[in-house]
């Protein structure tokens, strides 16, 4: 992904060029709420803050919209994840900021009046 591209609004269809594992990874990196659509059709809106694939029953961990949790959801119970919430990091990537910061420090490299 580029610095500025956001997944906000993404509705991935698992199996159509994207795996559940890939979608979970993206949801884990996403700085906004998502909607987890479970295999039984129920939905949970919240923030995916963790996932663990290196265990017998891989799971994701979520704080729901009200902040309750952590709620553990096995991968096997997930049909897909929708990127429904606002991406709080959109347009504000670290790489973009670092470039701006280095440019501004170079600008400040020119002499300033004493006490500035």
């Amino acid at each position: 992904m580029s610095d500025t591209e956001s997944l906000e609004g993404w509705v991935p269809a698992i199996g159509h060029g994207v795996t559940l594992e890939e979608v979970v990874e993206r949801a884990f990196d996403y700085r906004g709420n998502v909607t987890v659509v479970k295999a039984d059709g129920t939905r949970l809106e919240g923030y995916v803050f963790n996932r663990n694939r290196d265990v017998a029953v891989p799971f994701v961990q979520v704080f729901d919209r009200a902040g309750a949790g952590p709620l553990d959801i096995p991968y096997a119970d997930i049909r897909t994840i929708l990127f429904t919430g606002k991406d709080t990091a959109a347009g504000n990537s670290y790489a973009a900021w670092l470039r701006a910061k280095e440019a501004s420090q170079q600008r400040l490299g020119t002499p300033l009046p004493p006490g500035a």
């Binding site: 803050f49 996932r51 961990q61 704080f63 919209r65 902040g67 709080t88 790489a95 670092l98 500035a116």
Partner: protein, 340 residues
């Protein structure tokens, strides 16, 4: 160096105990983040970009103390978010002081004067306010995206010193920083009377060919060599002189990511304070299940290639001090002579 003797001794005896016990991975500083909320919105800050329900959450004091006891590090750093917005910051700090932990409360200082006036804290050798200062007025206000913050922080530093608190500063320097202005900034902080300063390069991560990584490190070494060349005797740094030598490129270290473990509302962060690659439920799980070989310069991990940040390399410097007579001698020499 300005770290008080009692603190040096606490860290030294802890490291020696770990080594005698045959432990190869042990923490030195717990990075305890009770909340992500902040009263500033500095551009590029990765700590505050969360949905509202996450920003509203915070750890309980009991959760914080559980993490402190579990990890056992002699030093606890409380960054954030802004820890002075944590409703129970007074109780948390007094509990940590009662446990004889050396606490660095890292704050942008906007609320410090008010909290001091309200009597939230008691001066103690165990408590130091570590004030975020990214340079003189122009640089700092630009870094935090708000005018007037430098002046408010200076006023808060004066007030804290007047009330008998330990005060240090923490400064992040990026490629392009002006060495002369940075040296003037060190003078200004020492004039204020702070106990010591902590500096670190900012974290940088770029997918790039080997040559570009090498150049970035070389530029960082040049910057710190110019800033710290012929250091003034009056400059006091609240960190290992070996780490400063590493920044200047006169010493090479590998990262010790487990040295400064991070605990927050999500759990124990893997693998370090900078990267969020997952969370463990317990400190033991963090130590035992993190694939440490994937991190640090030698691993070839792109995210670690340019990193020279204090949370990964200062623990290496401290360990190096106690790993050999040579490391110990070098630290003592730099501390006594003030030469880097």
């Amino acid at each position: 160096m300005s770290v008080p003797l009692s603190q040096m001794w606490a860290v030294a005896s802890y490291v020696i105990r770990q080594r005698l016990a045959g432990r190869t991975r042990y923490p030195l500083v717990l990075m305890l983040e009770p909340l992500f909320r902040c009263n500033l919105a500095c551009a590029g800050c990765g700590k505050i970009q969360y949905p509202a329900q996450i920003l509203k959450k915070h750890l309980t004091v009991e959760q914080c103390l559980g993490a402190v006891d579990e990890c056992g590090a002699p030093v606890v750093s409380i960054p954030g978010g802004e820890p002075l917005m944590y409703p129970e910051i007074g109780r948390l700090v007094s509990e940590l002081v009662a446990r004889k932990k050396y606490v660095y409360l890292c704050t942008n200082a906007l609320l410090l004067k008010e909290r001091l006036t309200a009597g939230v804290f008691e001066p103690s050798k165990y408590l130091s306010f570590s004030i975020h200062m990214d340079g003189l007025r122009a640089e700092h206000d630009e870094a935090v995206c708000r005018e007037g913050v430098y002046d408010e922080a200076v006023e808060a530093i004066r007030e804290a010193l007047r009330r008998g608190f330990r005060v240090t500063t923490n400064t992040t320097l990026f490629d392009g920083a002006n060495p002369l202005r940075t040296r003037e900034f060190f003078d200004a902080m020492m004039d204020l009377g702070v106990e010591g300063m902590m500096i670190s390069p900012g974290y940088s991560y770029a997918k790039a060919p080997d040559q570009e990584h090498f150049l970035r490190r070389q530029r960082a070494n040049e910057l710190f060599s110019r800033i710290l060349a012929d250091p003034k005797r009056r400059w006091k740094f609240n960190q290992s002189p070996l780490f400063l030598q590493f920044l200047m490129g006169t010493r090479d270290f590998e990262c010790t990511p487990w040295g400064n473990p991070t605990y927050n509302i999500f759990g124990w962060q893997r693998p370090c304070y900078l990267l969020q690659e997952g969370y463990a439920a317990t400190f033991k799980e963090l130590l035992e299940t993190t694939r440490w070989e994937r991190y640090g310069k030698k691993s070839g991990n792109e995210k670690c290639r340019d990193c020279m940040v204090h949370c990964g390399y200062e623990p290496t410097a401290v360990n190096h001090t106690f790993a050999s007579w040579r490391g110990f001698r070098d630290t003592v020499t730099a501390t006594v002579t003030g030469r880097l």
